[in-house]
């Protein structure tokens, strides 16, 4: 009852489009409707689970034939327990990756709010090349009227899987190889030096004796 005259006065005095009372009425209705929409969109204080998940490659380099460690971390940032959590990762093709340890399809019964869980899988790339490490799919019960939420983990992106010789060439210390090389080179230097020095010292000694 207070609201109506105020709005009417405001609209009549300050609204440049309001030349008639009909327009004022129409605009009042639009304003009330907008307010109602905003009010009903406000979050309802109802407990619900909300999961955030990350997928990370722990290796600095992905090497063909060598272990690749993938870590999944799921955080419950909601206000309720998340139940029947299921994570499915179809992004690693069995033709291109071999599972060494762990599972790509995992489930957890519950994850309390403000808790997190970590899951690790060890894979082995079967061929070199550029590979897109895509996301894994997550489904869970939010605890609100049986709503099943579908979410996705983060995606690490494109990774270059290098061949072992290329990796070894750049990063291995090759200490054994260097030691072997120096051992093989030593006779080619010491032997001729020894032959020369034997003769040289003998005649230099004779020369100094003569002098």
């Amino acid at each position: 009852s207070i609201f109506n005259p105020l709005v009417t006065t405001f609209m009549t005095r300050y609204c440049i489009l309001c030349h008639s009372e009909q327009r004022v009425t129409m605009l009042k209705a639009v304003l009330i409707f907008t307010l109602a929409v905003i009010i009903f969109q406000l979050p309802v204080s109802q407990a619900t689970a909300h999961l955030l998940a990350s997928k990370t490659i722990l290796n600095e380099y992905a090497v063909d034939g060598k272990d690749l460690t993938v870590q999944y971390t799921i955080y419950n940032v909601g206000t309720s327990v998340a139940e029947n959590i299921e994570m499915v990762d179809d992004s690693f093709s069995p033709h291109e990756f071999e599972i060494v340890h762990g599972l790509l399809n995992v489930s957890w019964d519950r994850l309390p709010n403000n808790a997190n869980v970590t899951h690790t899988v060890i894979l082995r790339p079967l061929s070199p090349g550029l590979y897109n490490m895509s996301w894994a799919k997550l489904t869970y019960d939010t605890g609100v009227d049986g709503i099943v939420q579908i979410g996705y983990t983060s995606a690490p992106g494109y990774y270059r899987i290098v061949t072992y010789p290329e990796f070894s060439r750049k990063h291995s210390s090759h200490i054994t190889e260097w030691i072997a090389f120096f051992l093989m080179s030593t006779p080619t230097l010491l032997l001729p030096f020894f032959l020369w020095y034997t003769s040289h010292s003998k005649y230099e000694k004779l020369k100094s004796k003569k002098a």
Partner: protein, 183 residues
Amino acid sequence: MRQKKSSGESKMTEEELILLESSRHVSMATSALFYGNAFIVSALPLWLYWRIQMMDPLTYAIFFVAFTFLSTYLVAYAYRKLQFTLKYKIAMRRAAVIQKQVSQELSKENKQKRDTKASERKNKVADREATAFSIFYNNALYLFLVLLLFWFMKTFHPMVNYAITTSASAFLLAFFSTGGTTK
């Protein structure tokens, strides 16, 4: 015996000329020794490229063989050049000592025989010392150049690395060996 040199001229005696000329000749045994050593030294870097640069020997066999032979030829050339330069110098240096040594051993023989013996021994000693030192010096320089270029070229493709390292080291060795004089 060395003759007095006339002022302003640097004439070599007949003996020195014969000695210089004989230094050019490399016996079959010495030649075989040169090529054998050159091959061994040229083959050593293959180990580095096989195990460190991960170049499969079977895949690159022809490539390896070609550059190894090129390097062998140039290293043997360097051996010969340096040996020629050193042999004459060493012979001149050892002449007096060997002459005295032979004189003491063959005191009862005539002078001609003693001189001949001394000359033979001088050539033999000079040949041996010059050969040994030439091989030692050239091997050391070659391996140093190979290691230096191997490190400099490490970011290049292994094939390019091997080709440039081996050929450049061998060419530089041959080039440096031509710089010496007999005087």
